[in-house]
């Protein structure tokens, strides 16, 4: 058997052997901090350390009690809907803006200062302003994701456009391409891998933002769910929530990476 393969399976498990005792150590020091076994029981059901019978939050993730009480799966789906809505808007606005900035020095000069200033603004700073505008938690969450995740798309698209080799543009000149042909035949193929890098960063930000946004807006969603479980003194579910957020984020990133590779001509053939 391949030694590299063995390493790839065994080494991460070795880390667990360190992490679990560390977790147990924290649980023994901090009052009410859930132990690994209580967290497992809270996730998949069973008898916890206090001898209570517990229904795991992951044993029936699909239940719907009423509008305000739904299984974890629906919480995640709800968050994903908002993430994709904000992300889609960011793509729709971000790519054309990035193309403009990349192709025109004037647009670059005009917009760059604002991009640089608005880019580092935390989503939590936008939230009250957007809530004031929309007066609706769903629209506010989507708008917050839009405005915080659009920057990497704009910046990477512009970078992609600017990295178009002068020689390719000379080919376009000799063949007398129209501006539109130049965009489709030369600029986009070069810029697409950059655009996807931007989208991947952007989706990562969007997923980070949704958890924070939902904690403040409330209602439904995995972010709200984590906060709600804190208020319900259901501490193991906080840790379960963190795992869910991490795993979903990882899956989103992996899917985006696959799509990006598919459109990247340098990784073809």
């Amino acid at each position: 058997m391949n030694i590299e393969l063995v390493k790839r399976i065994v080494l991460p498990w070795l880390v667990i052997l360190v992490l679990i005792p560390a977790w147990m150590g924290v649980a023994s020091i901090v009052d009410d901090f859930p132990t690994p076994s209580d967290t497992y029981v809270a996730a998949f059901g069973g008898i916890n350390s206090e001898g209570d019978e517990v229904v795991g939050s992951l044993s029936d993730p699909f239940y719907v009690e009423n509008e305000d009480d739904k299984g974890v799966f629906w919480q995640v789906m709800n968050s994903l809907q908002r993430v994709f809505a904000g992300f889609a808007l960011a793509i729709l606005v971000g790519i054309p803006t990035g193309l403009l900035i990349g192709m025109s020095k004037n647009f670059m000069t005009a917009l760059n200062p604002y991009i640089q200033i608005l880019k580092p603004v935390s989503p939590l700073a936008w939230l009250p302003l957007l809530l004031l505008i929309f007066q609706d938690i769903n629209a506010t969450a989507v708008a917050t994701i839009f405005i915080t995740s659009i920057w990497p798309i704009i910046i990477n698209t512009a970078l992609g456009v600017r990295s178009v080799n002068e020689d390719y543009l000379n080919v376009a000149k000799v063949l007398q391409f129209t501006p539109l042909e130049k965009v489709y035949q030369i600029i986009l193929p070069v810029a697409v891998p950059y655009i996807f890098t931007g989208m991947r960063l952007s989706l990562g930000i969007a997923w980070l933002v949704i958890v924070a946004a939902e904690m403040l807006t409330g209602g439904i969603g995995i972010g709200f769910w984590i906060w709600d479980e804190y208020n319900n003194l259901n501490y193991p579910n906080i840790i379960i929530g963190i795992f869910i957020v991490g795993i979903v984020g990882y899956i989103l990133d992996a899917i985006m990476g696959r799509i990006a590779d598919y459109f990247d001509y340098t990784k073809r053939g």
Binding site: D167, K173, L175, Q176, P189, Y265, T266, G269
Partner: protein
């Protein structure tokens, strides 16, 4: 006034420098290139030979004088002056076939899809790349890429083929191979060709006339050498040909005695 084919009349290129200064790259270029003639432009680096080619191509505009093709003054780039770039400039996301097709499709939109395919295939075959036509530029050798560049340039039926140190980046065996390709193509389809080179043998082997440039700044045409050798030319046989030797010596003496340049 009779129409000259490709005419360079008092061509000058001045680049502005900061603080109102200017750099005169080339000046006082007067040259008439006849149809189906192969011209080499040779000179040390920095003599403005690439600038000159770019001005003929229209990628760079002359700041003085004018260049005309068949009596029409040029004002920008166009497919009737196809360029083979030094670094081939193939689009890496398109296959060999698609790179050529892109050019033909754009320049000859009237072709039916069958005519288009036939034309692309014909030029793929002309440079012996039938086996590699579905490969991407990243998957083929430097020499093959340059052959695609030549095929792409010729496929759009240019009046003038401009080659900017086309074989400069290749090893000498590959370069010889490509020179043979070019000569063979030239035997079957006559083209007007302008080649920028810094290779003395290449200049003599390929061209009817060799334009020798003085050193920059304010570079200009120093001498023009007629190469009185019949086509097709045979590389090995020419090594002892008196005309070949005379041409070689004339260029060498121009480059290394009259206009020697240090720190190349």
């Amino acid at each position: 006034m009779s129409t000259k084919f490709l005419d360079l009349n008092n061509v000058e290129k001045v680049f502005p420098l900061p603080k109102g200064k200017k750099y005169v790259a080339v000046t006082d270029i007067n040259l008439e290139i006849k149809e189906n003639e192969i011209i080499s432009i040779i000179g040390h680096s920095g003599c403005g030979k690439s600038t000159l080619l770019n001005m003929i191509a229209g990628l760079d505009m002359a700041t003085g004088g004018e260049i005309s093709l068949e009596g029409e003054v040029l004002s920008g780039p166009g497919p009737e002056r196809a360029v083979v770039f030094q670094n081939h400039s193939l689009l890496p996301w398109l296959s060999v076939y698609d790179n050529i097709e892109l050019a033909v499709k754009k320049v000859m939109p009237e072709l039916s899809s069958k005519e288009l395919r036939d034309r692309v295939e014909k030029f793929v075959s002309m440079v012996n790349l039938d086996a590699a036509k579905d490969k991407y530029p990243g998957e083929i050798s430097g020499g093959m890429k340059q052959r695609v560049g030549i095929a792409r340039a010729l496929s759009i039926k240019p009046k003038v083929l401009l080659m900017d140190e086309p074989f400069g980046a290749l090893d000498s065996l590959t370069r010889a191979n490509l020179q043979e390709h070019l000569m063979r193509i030239q035997q079957s389809v006559k083209n007007t060709v302008v080649i920028i080179t810094h290779d003395v043998d290449e200049a003599v082997l390929l061209s009817d006339r060799v334009i020798m440039m003085t050193n920059g700044p304010e570079a200009t045409i120093g001498e023009i050498l007629e190469v009185n050798l019949q086509h097709p030319r045979e590389r090995v046989a020419l090594q002892h040909d008196t005309e070949y030797i005379r041409c070689r010596e004339a260029i060498l003496s121009f480059l290394y005695e009259k206009y020697a340049k240090e720190d190349e």
